[in-house]
Symmetry: C2
Subunit: 376 residues, 2 copies
């Protein structure tokens, strides 16, 4: 594939170069790299009461199964920090402690074994407290995310400058504060509920530091609109080469956040995993039941991780062209169709046997890929 | 709001300047402007058999109710072209005839009264046929969309250059062909199933012509992944100032395409309509039932067109900050909360009465806005 360029000459495929930080690598949790060329990871946040370690761990397991790679939990009080001991010991994912206002909760979370701290130094208080947190993180080799949200920018800054400038300045000042303490293992997030403002702030920050970026649009609302806002905001930045880890924030089950995050990475071509479905929108030219077949293929391949691109096309106009680009493709005609494999017609099929034959070819392809990979 | 700039200095708020085309304005269908500073419009395509005028009109009514502004129908044969007479006479939306291969179907559709023609001159055949279509369009003041899809680009071009170049070259050659015939009322689409390729081709074409752009990612698959791909692809272009009309292509009910299209415009800040919900993702700090309240607000405001931004925030960390930015906001605490209106606290509420009081304030706000607008 050729490299694509934006209208202003910026290479859209060129990943921004950042320093690298790492979280996890203790207990069951894999070590996850952020930035420095590592693949973009998907995060979520528990909506359980952190003090309830059992419920929190059960949710973490569900999120892990869904493909979540880093999990954050709120630490609003000492009870939550205490529960972190058990949570971190048993979590299959690196655990990030979300800290606001009270630096002692950060210190307690570190003692409990968290893999990463999210703070907003702006609400942690005086410099000595920020230093205490940075020192404790350094000692344990634990990175910090500076999470600036539009809602928590200081009134003084907002009185002097537009929100985007206030947020960028806030993030960079707080980054500077940690760097001045000799602490470099920092990533940044600068989330706003407005997609346009989110894009503007991330672009500003990206141009002024090499710290990895945690992407997100914040407080996006319930599932449908939240996924659309996140896909536009996070997707636009990823397609520009910005972003090293992400969280989709939804007022919904966190499993939906993970599902949406993975979908955004796939849409941006940053992850190939499982089914990539190319299916036409069934217009009045359509002569086969594309929707039914497409849905059946999705169901049959649920949980499959091996990448496979499948085309399900209803007619001869775009069908054969798209189907050629797929690993396996079906292009329908009147009550019949042809199955393509990597551009070659392998079989003509009747409508009755279309789905079964398509699935058989897909499963063969997956098996062959898996054999080739295990011998590769 | 300040103007935002990308990292390469392109103003993200700056709309690309294009020529303007118009469709509709006959019968029940409003005249819809495309390009030249007109608001970006949302299109869809019927999946009915066009020969069944009754079913097609019933679907068009449903799409019109959902907010669709332009509707396309497939015209695969003479029967479909004939049915267009009744469809165009009764449609509440401008009707676009989708033509492939046979220029006579374009001529028949024009006679039947369509408001716009979508052709792929590459598969219409020799120059005299393209001229016949352009002449008939000119006579009736009907614009043409040149719709290039990755699947229908010529093999000769693909053998010589990357897909993105082949698609851009194809679109510009076909535009040039119409312009050489003195026909200027053209918009372009250059859709691929890959988001990255779609972005690259639209950016290339945008830099080389002032024709309005019809945005879309094609053959995106079933609803969930299709919406994510479309939001990333269409959203990224809209946020760069590209795009004058759009269609989300889904293997699903076309009503979902319209809903997704409107959501993308709202996410990009290009449309304010009805509820803009800012709600937090309910972490372990959350002390009120944000999800329930947010969903109840959505349900209560279903169908409302007056723009209103409502914040539903679970805690004191980001809550008050975000709620201040909303027209009406609720920030929860332990079993209680405060309602904000344009930054001012208007009421402290118990958990029991929270939702009812929030809805009452929202309805008041909407009523006042409507009164102010009708007197404005």
């Amino acid at each position: 594939m050729s490299s694509s360029t934006t209208s202003c000459g910026l290479s859209a495929d060129k990943k921004r170069v950042t320093r690298q930080i790492a979280a996890g690598g203790t207990g069951r949790a894999a070590r996850v790299l952020i930035g420095g060329g590592a693949p973009v990871t998907v995060q979520s946040m528990c909506d359980t009461d952190t003090r309830d370690a059992k419920a929190t761990l059960a949710q973490i397991e569900k999120l892990y199964e869904a493909g979540c790679q880093i999990i954050r939990v709120a630490v609003p009080d000492a009870g939550a920090a205490e529960a972190l001991g058990r949570i971190c010991a048993q979590s299959p994912l690196p655990v990030v402690a979300d800290i606001h206002f009270d630096f002692r909760l950060a210190l307690a979370s570190l003692k409990a074994g968290v893999s990463k701290i999210r703070i907003n130094p702006g609400n942690i208080g005086e410099a000595s407290r920020v230093k205490a947190v940075a020192d404790a993180c350094k000692e344990r080799n634990v990175p910090i995310r500076i999470g600036v949200n539009s809602g928590s920018v200081s009134r003084e800054k907002l009185a002097k400058m537009p929100l985007e400038d206030a947020m960028a300045q806030s993030a960079l000042e707080q980054l500077g504060q940690l760097e001045a303490l000799g602490f470099q293992d920092v990533c940044l997030s600068v989330k706003a509920p407005s997609v346009k403002q989110t894009l503007a702030v991330y672009r500003r920050v990206a141009a002024l530091t090499d710290a990895p970026l945690h992407l997100g649009v914040t407080e996006t609302g319930t599932s449908f609109m939240g996924i659309v806002k996140s896909a536009v905001g996070i997707g636009a930045l990823l397609c520009e080469g910005l972003g090293d880890t992400l969280r989709v924030s939804l007022t919904a089950d966190p499993v939906e956040e993970v599902r949406a995050g993975i979908a955004i990475l796939k849409a941006c071509g940053l992850r190939r995993e499982g089914l990539e479905l190319i299916s036409c929108p069934t217009c009045g030219r359509c002569r086969i039941r594309v929707g039914e077949i497409a849905n059946a293929v999705e169901r049959a391949l649920d949980g499959v991780k091996t990448p496979v691109t499948v085309a399900v096309m209803g007619c001869a106009v775009n069908g054969p062209g798209e189907a050629r680009a797929a690993d396996i493709g079906l292009a329908g005609g009147d009550g019949k169709g042809v199955i393509f494999k990597k551009g070659e017609i392998v079989e003509a099929v009747s409508e009755e046997h279309m789905l079964a034959r398509l699935l058989a070819h897909i499963k063969d392809f997956i098996k062959q890929t898996e054999v080739a990979t295990s011998h590769g």
